[in-house]
Symmetry: C2
Subunit: 307 residues, 2 copies
């Protein structure tokens, strides 16, 4: 179990990392860091560290903060490209400071992670470098396929792997590596992280697609509005001739009906559940510990959570 | 002297670094890398390496490529924010692929430098991390002062330091460090690089301000059009009541007359020349070598070059 005090170490590292003489950069970075999120990635780093026997979290805090900064930086740039105004109920950086400054604020948050990792083991830097590349490649592939109703499930899953699952996998790989885990333990945790990442993103995309029950009448899905495909949408498009028109109709009720009737929601839910099972199975060889139980709980949570 | 063959090693490292399964990212990165530039920064790395006694360039090539990638990535994002259509006579990335993809292409070029440096000495990574922060801070400060006719020379020079001079300084610091230079040699080269960076940027800004002689009638200065201040403009604003109106009039002839009559051009040229002298003086303690002569030549070139 990661305690609130322990998670607070990450918050401190995050805020310390984005200090700057340029007041705006510090303020904007603090603004988005303070807007929180569940800190899933830092928790994964810390839990993997504990699961392989690490105790005092000090050595792993910079890594936990670095992955969160990477995630945060990518959100800032995504929000520019998606023209999003709101994130976690607050104005996005681009909505508040405009696109040009938002671009630089995203760059800033990103480059600050370099400072956090400069003195760490080359393995840490290499793994983070690969994730960075993956995220940018995933976001680019996604953009190149916006509005592409011919998108295959294979390419969709490749995008999910690049933009989400690789980072999840890196979190547990790095936590375990810094915690002195064996290569067998590290490989098991990487497999866990990858599958968890898939489950997490598939569920996220589905949640976006079905929208909030109290928001009927509003455009259902912000992803669909931007032409972003998801597993359920891809499935529905394959099953129903009229799916294309309905999906882009912005009629929440019709979209939900289509997704239910074609079995698209079930299909996506099953896929996500399979990934959760695979993630949990990957942990089988790890010795029992509170951290391991917590990792299993996190996997179950990935498909249960609401928006 | 860095030979064409030796510089070619950097080109190969640059192209190798931006390989990607996502074809667009590879193509766009190759496009901007192929558009060249003078590779001043890689040359600085290599010359400093040689100036402290390094011979075989192999160990310093990744560093030389990394600083050029950093510079290139920052140009891509600058061009988005500046709404520039042309760079080095070719369409900018944003003009060719649009702002959203350009943002990701810039991110991509940037993150690829992480791979180049992951296995290098922590000092290298730390210095590059500081430069990254400096560049983003400098660009941000510049943006916050767009159109600010009250900008002080001090703040202008701070922007120049952050966005340009720190990277120049880092280039020679890293070249010398990898080449096994003493801390005294490294300190001397850092001083050289910093002063050279100031001279280079002051000259660059002045060149932009006076425009091409064959382009009279066109908007004189793209910087002024964007509200970017320069040393000469700041000086003219202090000396002449009507300067503000003339500077933003887009009348090339009037602007050039103002800059000449107020002595603003002379002032900027003198400042740049002082920086060049300071840069050259910093090299005094270094043993004579072909590389040292080349560094001196580069400094002289900084104030002589045309656009």
């Amino acid at each position: 179990m990661i305690t609130a005090d322990e998670l607070h170490l990450v918050e401190e590292a995050l805020l310390g990392a984005v200090a700057s003489d340029v007041d705006l950069l510090a303020r904007a970075s603090e603004y988005i860091i303070a807007s929180g999120g569940k800190r899933v990635r830092p928790q994964l780093v810390m839990l993997a560290y504990r699961a392989v026997g690490g105790r005092d979290l000090t050595p792993v805090v910079p890594v936990a903060a670095a992955v969160e900064l990477l995630h945060t930086a990518s959100l800032i740039h995504d929000d520019i490209n998606d023209r999003s105004d709101l994130r976690r109920g607050r104005a996005t950086i681009n909505a508040r400071w405009g696109n040009s400054l938002a671009l630089l604020i995203g760059d800033f948050v990103f480059v600050r992670l370099l400072n956090l990792i400069a003195d760490l083991d080359p393995r840490v830097i290499r793994v983070i470098a690969q994730c960075c590349t993956g995220i940018v490649e995933g976001e680019t592939l996604q953009m190149l396929h916006l509005g592409d109703t011919e998108l295959t499930e294979e390419t969709y899953l490749r995008i999910v792997e690049l933009k989400t699952a690789l980072l999840f996998s890196a979190c547990v790989e790095l936590g375990a590596a810094v915690g002195g885990g064996t290569e067998v333990q590290i490989a098991a945790l990487k497999e866990y992280g990858l599958s968890l990442g898939y489950a997490f993103q598939i569920r996220d995309d589905t949640l976006d697609l079905i929208g909030e029950p109290d928001e009927l009448g509003k455009p259902v899905s912000s992803d669909l509005g931007q032409g972003k495909m998801s597993l359920a949408a891809i499935y529905a498009l394959k099953r129903s001739e009229g799916a294309k028109e309905i999906l882009f109709s912005e009629d929440a009720q019709q979209v939900n009906q289509l997704l239910a009737e074609t079995g698209a929601l079930d299909y996506a839910a099953t896929k996500a559940q399979e990934c959760v099972e695979k993630a949990k199975r990957a942990l089988f060889s790890l010795r029992g510990s509170q951290a391991k139980s917590e990792l299993i709980r996190l996997a179950d949570f990935a498909v249960l959570r609401g928006k």
